[in-house]
Amino acid sequence: MTRQTLLGLGFLSPALLAVVMFFLLPVVLTVVFAFTNMSTSTGILGGAYQISESDLRRLPAAGVSDEAVTLLEGAGYAVQPETLALFAAEFGEDRASELEKLHGGATFDDRRAMERALKELRRNPLRKVRDRKTAAELFRVSILGQRFATEAEFQTAIADLGVPDPDRAALTTAAYTGWTFTTQNFELLWKLPATWRYALNTVLYVVLTLGFNVSFGLFLALSTFYLPTRTAQTFRAIWFLPRILPPVLYVLMWQWLTWDQGFISAMMRPFGIEPINWMRHTATHAWIFIVLINGCVGASLGMILFSSSLRAIPETQLFAAQVDGANRWQQARYVLLPQMRWPILFITSYQTLSLLTSFEYILLATDGGPGRQTEVWALAAYHTALSNYGGNLEYGLGAAYALGLVIIGILLSALYLRFFNFRELVAKPRIEQ
């Protein structure tokens, strides 16, 4: 290894370590998750083995015989010689014999009933709740609702219960509460009509916002280009702020502008226009504001980049154009714009990627509404994986959504790299040793 390679890798390693650990590794994990059914219910870091009451009705479909299901279903707590012996060993023969007298041969559906039975002991009562809990456990003959940390423990338990051998494998699979690998996320995405609508929304969002960003950024750059420095700076500041203001705050300002009692409604009232929520009245309203909100953030990037490339154009060209009698529009159209091809192309491609994956402003503004009309793909990923009223977050499905974006993103960036002549971008360093 040459000294430069060593120095290069050394210089790269802190950033590399951070990016690999906290960015790349999560990306890889997300790709893996896309092929799982991970959700709140399954947990993230692994599961246990448990058959609960509601699982019973699912078991036949999972290939467990009715005989086994009946076994599992059997009463939870039984006062029978075996369990009484355990009880006697722990809490004394006299209690055991009293209980046998009271409830010998009885079965109880749940622990509460078992505890009630234990409370009936008179001669030497179990006074403490804790003792009754311990004692009740001794009479448990069912494994329903019991959680086993490992597969082996579960296997032992069902073997003890007498579940026939052929059923054990299927039962163990069904009892696992953790996530498993599956491709159903993708089948689901394919089947759901909403998926395609979100995809369409995403295209609409990216195209419209991009169009606004580029054209408006150009307009700002060109118009401030002609203005005196101070005036230009003021306008640039106005348009740069949206980019650096915290999104929560920035979107709130728009809410204030557009809601029923907001600024627009108040201004329109004297003209006899009924106050409406201008951001959410119809899908069209929502789209207009989504594009405006995101556009004002994105336009500043275009504005700055275009401004600096405008400054790089020699003034003499403008003088020449002026001498030729071109007005400003013509100057912009025929002299300036043709020289801005690369910055425009750059902004277009850079922001396509950014917009594809961004949803924060939509989340805060319309949350995808009204009627999911502004739900874009990235927002759907967020909603699926991290926001669900009922509490069951579908991480796997969310990851599948994200994976779709990632694939599109990689394809696009590969395309752009060809476009922008990657070879030149990574031109070999000129000091060779």
């Binding site: 000294r3 070999k428 000129r430 000091i431 060779e432 040793q433």
Partner: protein, 348 residues
Amino acid sequence: MRIELQNFTKRFGDTTVIEDMSLSVASGEMVALLGPSGCGKSTTLFAISGIHRIDGGTLHFGDRDVTALPPQDRPVGVVFQNYALYPHMSVAENIGFPLKVQKLSSSEIKRRVSEMADLVQIGNLLSRKPQQLSGGQQQRVALARALVRKPDVLLLDEPLANLDAKLRLEMRSEIRRLQRETGITAILVTHDQIEAMSMCDRIALMKDGNIEQISTPSEMYERPASRYVAGFLGNPPISFLQAEANGQLALGGGNALALPNGITATGPVTLGVRPEHFGPQHRGSSVAGRVSFIEPQGREDLIDVILPDDQRLRAIVPAGHDITLGQEISWQVDLDRVHLFDAEGARL
């Protein structure tokens, strides 16, 4: 310190830029690498400096093999076209940087910096920042920085290209003075033949990664080894005529010249005639044609002559003549001074 570059080969990726080139520079000599852009002269310079790896061949400074040494370990000072002064450092810090790297004491650095500054005549500028200096001053700082650690070799990469015409003239002699005073071996890369001829002991003229000819400026001007060399040197440039050698030199349209002494070639040849060797004031074989253009230059005029077969010759004629545009003339060519090249362009 003698520089010996042998069988030097340089590749960038899959393309071979320079193959099997050899160059030898004597101790205390100043050699120009001259050629159009892309001919490999800068590549050669960077290879000598160590910035580029040498893919084949060897490089010796004196008896020492420096082929594999990194640039830091080579006793080389370089002056770049844009001077590459460190913008955040003062002139003194710029000049002192190589010494600081060598961990010299600050008093020693100070002494040598002021000594060097005096040598390049910028002693009064030491506390300034580079952007406060004129182009010529920056150039001097760059020279001082390159020389301060007393390298064995000085490499100059187009040092005058960024200067205006007047300064360029001044710095030309200044650089030569410094090189002579320090006795350092120097290589100058340039595309400007005047610079090369006026500053250097020898010129290596390069073309497509090869040295076409290496010799003293006058030797190269007077006895160019090839048509390419002849065409590259000289301002106004040499005129080339296509001719048929068959005991004499037959030009088209009835013109013919005698064969110069000692030439026995037959078949198609190229005849090179410098403007100063053609005109009414010369003696020798004459060529007839028509004056097509007169460009006054003050002391003398440039006159283009179009021959009957549409080939052109150019003449330098002292001012005060009475030649007019369109005039039919028959002027002499100084046959002792013309150059003949074969079909491949080699000198005959």
